[in-house]
């Protein structure tokens, strides 16, 4: 993992609301290496979905304020929806949250696929064999193409969506909560399919967005933790789970009950307080109010710096 695939620098994305701008992403800088699967974890409202979306398509309320996104040394025009059309689906693609519920219920899946491809100027016939090969790989019969989405189970729909999103071998795939509405056994199958797609070269790098740290621990090479619109920590998976440096990551990991941990033996604690409002975020470290280690210096904003090879932390105490 030497070559860098995705490079995000100083990215700021705000949501316009009547009460002012919500600073959902504030000065986000990171890189994803070629072939890397990065897990993006955090609680609701921390900006993880916003980050995923801003790499592909900004919706009407989102405003690109500052910063650049480079994919394979080419700058993505993320603020320009029309110009992004050349990159979407081919170079970078997203499986949005609830994608499996977003399939057109009045179209057969095959027809929907065809329409989707043709809207991007790709003839369906040219990819038909490859599509069938990939359906087999994920264990779906060819006749799913003649079925309506309602006839498929959640796991089948999710696998169909995964095949569809990677059909043109994008360089980067963003998978947003792809496993969250599924049963545990299906969840595992879907997660392993993602890894398999990467290994087969259908996608080169991936960002897997989830609120479930234990899931990305299973499949990701590295994990990035966000808090209140900022990056808190990024490191190789084992480092994040075994020796996190940011107090937020430490508290988050220690608040997760595991199979085998009993209340009577070890009482876990949550993180007191709640995240700050992003309408008018406090100056300095945004975790300061909930942080047990906070001291005077935390009123200044800590930079997101590399403390060890591949381990980035935004904390004065790290």
């Amino acid at each position: 993992m030497s070559k860098v695939s995705l490079r995000v620098a100083g990215l700021k994305v705000h949501y316009r609301t009547l009460r002012g701008d919500v600073k959902a992403l504030d000065d986000v800088t990171f890189a994803v290496a070629d072939g890397e699967t990065m897990g993006l974890a955090g609680e609701s409202g921390c900006g993880k979905t916003t980050l995923g979306k801003s790499l592909i398509r900004l919706d009407g309320r989102m405003r690109h304020v500052d910063g650049t996104v480079e994919l394979d040394d080419e700058e993505l025009p993320i603020g320009d929806t029309a110009r992004m059309n050349d990159f979407r689906f081919r170079e970078v693609f997203i499986i949005p949250q609830y994608a499996m519920s977003a399939m057109n219920p009045t179209r057969k899946i095959g027809k929907m696929t065809k329409e989707l491809l043709e809207s991007r100027g790709v003839r369906f016939e040219t990819v038909r064999t490859e599509l069938k090969r990939r359906l087999e790989l994920v264990g779906l019969a060819h006749d799913v193409l003649d079925r309506y989405p309602i006839e498929l189970s959640g796991g089948m729909k999710q696998r169909m969506v995964m095949v569809l999103s990677t059909l043109l071998n994008p360089s980067l795939l963003v998978a947003d909560e792809v496993t969250s509405a599924l049963d545990v056994s299906t969840q595992r199958a879907v997660a392993e399919t993602l890894v398999d797609f990467r290994d087969r070269g259908f996608v080169r790098s991936m960002i897997v967005i989830t609120h479930d740290v234990s899931l990305v621990y299973q499949i990701a090479d590295s994990i990035m933790v966000m808090y209140a619109g900022k990056l808190a920590e990024k490191a190789p998976t084992d480092v994040i789970v075994d020796s996190p440096r940011h107090p937020y990551t430490q508290l988050l990991i220690s608040s997760l009950p595991e199979v085998g941990v009993k209340y009577a033996d070890k009482r876990l604690t949550g993180i007191p307080g709640s995240p700050p409002s992003l309408l008018d975020p406090p100056a300095g470290c945004r975790f300061r109010d909930r942080c047990p280690l906070a001291f005077d210096k935390c009123s200044e904003e800590p930079p997101f710096v590399e403390v060890e090879h591949g381990h980035y932390v935004a904390c004065w105490k790290a």
Binding site: E43, S44, D183, V184, S185, Q187, R188, A191, H211, D212, V213, S214, L215, Y217, Q218, V241, D242, L251, L252, I253, S255, L256, P257, E258, V259, G260, V261, K262, Y263, R267, L268, T269, G270, I271, S274
Partner: protein, 333 residues
């Protein structure tokens, strides 16, 4: 009804006993097809005990909770709470029943009416059950109940649901249940919508309530949550119990193939899937081709239920029961 349960506890300590209940939903355009959601399920919740009901979607776990709350009819045999059969309760008797049994559900945001303040749930309890209590006395009672769920009354009273976090809303619902003198709480997926940093607080709260003698039926799809607070684990599959017992036995030494496959799929921290699989495969070696249930009851057609005549579960070790390894029970193994 048997006079002693399998674990030999006297009748008095039992809080809720579910005895061989079933539920069949009619599906299809004219209700012509039967969908058995719960089949011959028996278990009990004692006072001061958390029982985790774990299953994937469609396992019947929510239906069981609804039956105990009388939100759907009880078919099959009976459910008794404190020794009284609850299946025939109507109106006044049912209202009295809800003084002792209450439920909290998955989505805290849709449990509230968004156009009213969140504390309306308290005044509704007052109007229904405590009309004679005077206002000052009631305020004191609400405050005490909020403190029991570790919320400060100033923080949460007089606010609308959107001004409170999911964890706070869920705890207000528990506080509402505590205003009544409840003996049993049915908690259906109450923390699955909460963030990691707040869900553990709600779990700890359940543990505290249990210590005060409340019986809790904790319904979840998440095995790691089912383990943390519970005294007994019940694993359901397609409406049947496949394995039941003390959590450290069920999770430490899973016997049923379905329980094992669930355990190998749960994402765990500090243990990768391959490792869990390898460990379980090692433990499974001695069980290949065996079925503990049929070893115990070779005729197979044996008994059904927790009471001794027709158990569907065989006792594999102390406080650890397992069903036939052909999990559907229709095929023979």
């Amino acid at each position: 009804m048997a006079t002693t349960s399998l674990a030999g506890k006297p009748e008095a300590e039992r809080c809720c006993t579910v005895d061989r209940v079933s539920m069949v939903y009619k599906i299809g355009a004219f209700g012509g097809t039967d969908l058995p959601a719960v089949r011959d399920v028996s278990f009990e919740v004692r006072a001061g005990e958390v029982v985790s009901l774990i299953g994937e979607s469609g396992s019947g776990k929510t239906t069981l909770g609804k039956m105990i709350l009388r939100l759907c009819p009880i078919t099959g045999e009976t459910i008794t709470v404190d020794g009284v059969d609850i299946s025939t309760f109507k109106r006044r008797r049912l209202k009295t029943y809800y003084r002792s049994v209450q439920g909290v559900f998955q989505d805290p945001f849709s449990s509230y009416n968004p156009i009213f303040k969140a504390d309306r749930v308290f005044s509704m309890i007052k109007d229904e059950y405590f009309a004679e209590v005077n206002a000052a006395e009631w305020r004191r009672k609400v405050a005490a109940s909020l403190e029991a769920v570790r919320l400060s009354p100033d923080e949460v009273l007089n606010k609308y649901p959107h001004q409170l976090s999911g964890g706070q809303l869920q705890r207000i619902l528990i506080a509402r249940a505590l205003l009544l003198d409840i003996r049993l709480l049915v908690a259906d997926e109450i923390i699955s919508m909460l963030d990691a940093s707040t869900r553990i607080d709600v779990l700890n709260l359940l543990a505290d309530l249990k210590a005060q003698g409340l019986g809790i039926l904790f319904i979840t799809h998440d095995l790691s949550l089912g383990n943390y607070v519970s005294d007994k684990t019940v694993i359901l599959r397609r409406g049947r119990i496949v394995e039941m017992g003390a959590p450290d036995r069920v999770f430490g030494n899973p016997l049923h193939p379905y329980t094992k496959s669930l355990l190998t799929s749960v994402p765990q921290l500090h243990r990768k899937w391959e490792r869990v699989e390898a460990e379980l495969a090692a433990g499974r070696a001695g069980l290949t081709g065996r079925c503990i249930y049929h070893e115990r009851y070779p005729n197979g057609d044996g008994p059904v239920g927790l009471d001794a005549e027709r158990p569907t579960l065989a006792e594999a070790e102390d406080d650890h029961f397992v069903a036939c390894f052909q999990a559907d029970g229709e095929e023979t193994c």
